[in-house]
Symmetry: C2
Subunit: 122 residues, 2 copies
């Protein structure tokens, strides 16, 4: 589900128990180094904004950030708010499941609205 977009990027919510967003470039670059410098800089800015908003809103135990694209070689970044009692912590979300999640998190829509507002200045 797309929660924000401009001419260069879009941000999707990944279906998960944790707050998990994916940032895609509209133009499908394979690697970060294939993207123009200005696009790379904007990616860093957006990741920074998302990280700060996730921390402010969810107070996670850790932020996780990753760019793989082995299945889908279209540059995208995962940004996840992780909690000690989420299903995989302290493993990455791609690791071994550790437990059933007992998360009770605040409303995603409120978070998304705040984030949209912060990103609207880009």
């Amino acid at each position: 589900m797309k929660i924000w977009q401009n001419d260069t990027f879009y941000l999707e919510r990944h279906e998960s128990d944790i707050p998990w967003l994916k940032l895609f470039t509209e133009t499908p670059y394979k690697e970060m180094s294939d993207a123009p410098g200005e696009v790379r800089m904007q990616i860093y800015t957006i990741l920074d904004i998302v990280e700060r908003e996730m921390i402010a809103y969810y107070r996670p135990d850790k932020i996780n950030i990753a760019s793989f694209g082995n299945y889908l070689p279209h540059l995208h970044w995962h940004i996840m708010a992780r909690f000690r009692n989420d299903a995989y912590f302290p493993e990455p979300m791609w690791g071994q499941k550790q437990r059933e999640s007992t998360l009770d998190l605040p409303d995603f829509d409120t978070f998304a609205k705040t984030l949209q507002k912060r990103l609207s200045v880009l």
Copy 2:
């Protein structure tokens, strides 16, 4: 094993079948957003240099980049050269093993020397 360092950062080789480096800050920040802006910019620059040198030297099928720190909340970035015949591809290196690796890669020391030279300008 440390393969490069300056006053702010050090780069370690992670023991693996694939070319896998870890970039640490000397000062132990928990999250990217805890690091000063200048340090974040230098991290992006170093990741970009490492990615480009990995691509030039190893011709990998994909570069993977990640920052987790759930076990060790000291800001560090993983950067990995991935290959279709590595043990986990297309899964992340933290995922399910897919096969025995049949990689036959060029010498790491030559790569490390080139990288040290590129990073020496920082």
